[in-house]
């Protein structure tokens, strides 16, 4: 087998694998992935969250976890009812993971194929930005049900999100829909402010013919929760943004049920 070609992985106990992606960095993929995972859990699903961002893992801090001894710890870790795996569990947060692409692909494959995920309804995968090794490895070797594209409202974010969508289309991974993060801010006066312009997520969704899965408002507590290790959906379940996440989770459940995976491509009779 050539080094560039990942082996095909099957995850027998996992019903659906959903990738959270965007072409661009900084739009809140990890925040969306963590809160979506918890919202899915709150909706009664058995959920796993795999952090495929090898260079910049964020799952540990968002769940209040840190480095563990990989020799002595059975993975995946569990917190708030969600099974978790991240490079950040294995590397000192102050140390940089300086790796070339093929090593990234190997790590992603190991997370998927060698971690005993057990029985899950949904495995959420938090992808790094871009359309590179991690994304390609997943598309080639993981049985992805679909991808959720995260964007922020402004055009500069849409340009890259469009590239992410294009990649999933090329490798025939269905795009379940678009989530617009940092959509608007509701002030103390009850007025809605479109801080980063408006309508980008809707525009992108319409352009590629997929549903707009949700518009998540800005709430400073989201950042605070991320940094203190208890995601928003869990800490402030009654906040508007948490309700938006719950609605997003319901939509994702509905969308995944509507799309039973096509099944693998047929084998070739040579």
């Amino acid at each position: 087998m050539s080094p560039g070609m990942p082996p095909k992985l099957s995850l027998p106990g996992v019903k659906h694998v959903v990738a959270v992606a965007s072409g661009k960095g900084g739009v809140g993929k990890s925040t969306v992935a963590a809160n979506l995972a918890l919202a899915l859990h709150a909706a009664g699903q058995k959920v796993g969250l795999m952090d495929a961002d090898i260079y910049g893992p964020s799952v540990p801090i968002m769940f209040g976890l840190g480095q563990v001894n990989p020799q002595a710890t059975p993975f995946p870790l569990h917190k708030y009812g969600v099974a978790l795996m991240s490079m950040g569990f294995m590397v000192d947060p102050n140390q940089a993971v300086i790796w070339r692409g093929p090593k990234v692909a190997q790590a992603v494959q190991a997370f998927l194929g060698q971690i005993p995920w057990g029985e899950l309804d949904v495995l959420v995968i938090d992808l790094p930005p871009g359309t590179g090794d991690a994304q390609l490895t997943l598309s080639q070797s993981a049985p992805l049900t679909g991808a959720v594209i995260v964007t922020t409202p402004q055009d500069v974010s849409l340009i890259d999100a469009r590239k992410g969508v294009r990649m999933f289309q090329e490798v025939r991974v269905p795009v379940l829909g678009v989530v617009e993060n940092m959509s608007y801010f509701v002030g103390d006066d009850g007025k809605r402010y479109d801080l980063f312009r408006a309508g980008g997520g809707r525009k992108l969704a319409a352009e590629i013919g997929v549903p707009l899965l949700g518009e998540l408002p800005i709430d400073p507590r989201v950042a605070e929760c991320g940094d203190t290790g208890e995601p928003m959906v869990r800490k402030y379940p009654d906040a508007q943004v948490s309700k938006a996440y719950m609605a997003l989770a319901e939509t994702v459940i509905r969308e995944t049920l509507q799309r039973p995976a096509d099944g693998p491509l047929p084998e070739v009779a040579l």
Partner: protein
């Protein structure tokens, strides 16, 4: 080809590959034709250059005879990877390409 058209069966037929597609179409492509259109980066690069009349074949290439696959396996939901009898295995053929190479003309 629409993005939801998938192969339903692929099999060796004579010196080529017969594919039946979910839209009812059947295509056939000779192995030689598939090998000549390998979409991998080094083959694309090779084809972009003017032909080298002095190219020396490797022993493996000479021994291999006419192109034939030794393995062909699915990649994700979108492609097949072919390992050829000359040892070349970096070509990942997207479904669209397999369809195009099998269409007459």
């Amino acid at each position: 080809m629409a993005n939801d058209v998938r192969p339903t069966s692929l099999k060796r037929e004579g010196d080529g590959l017969k594919i039946e597609w979910s839209d009812g179409v059947a295509t056939f492509a000779a192995w030689r034709h598939l090998r000549a259109h390998c979409p991998c980066a080094s083959c694309l690069d090779e084809r972009a250059k003017p032909p080298d009349p002095f190219r020396v074949l490797s022993e493996r290439e000479v021994g291999a005879g006419p192109p034939a696959p030794t393995a062909m396996r699915p990649v994700g939901h979108y492609a097949y990877q072919i390992t050829w009898n000359d040892g070349h295995d970096t070509g990942i053929y997207p479904l669209e390409l397999l369809r195009k190479l099998g269409e007459p003309g």
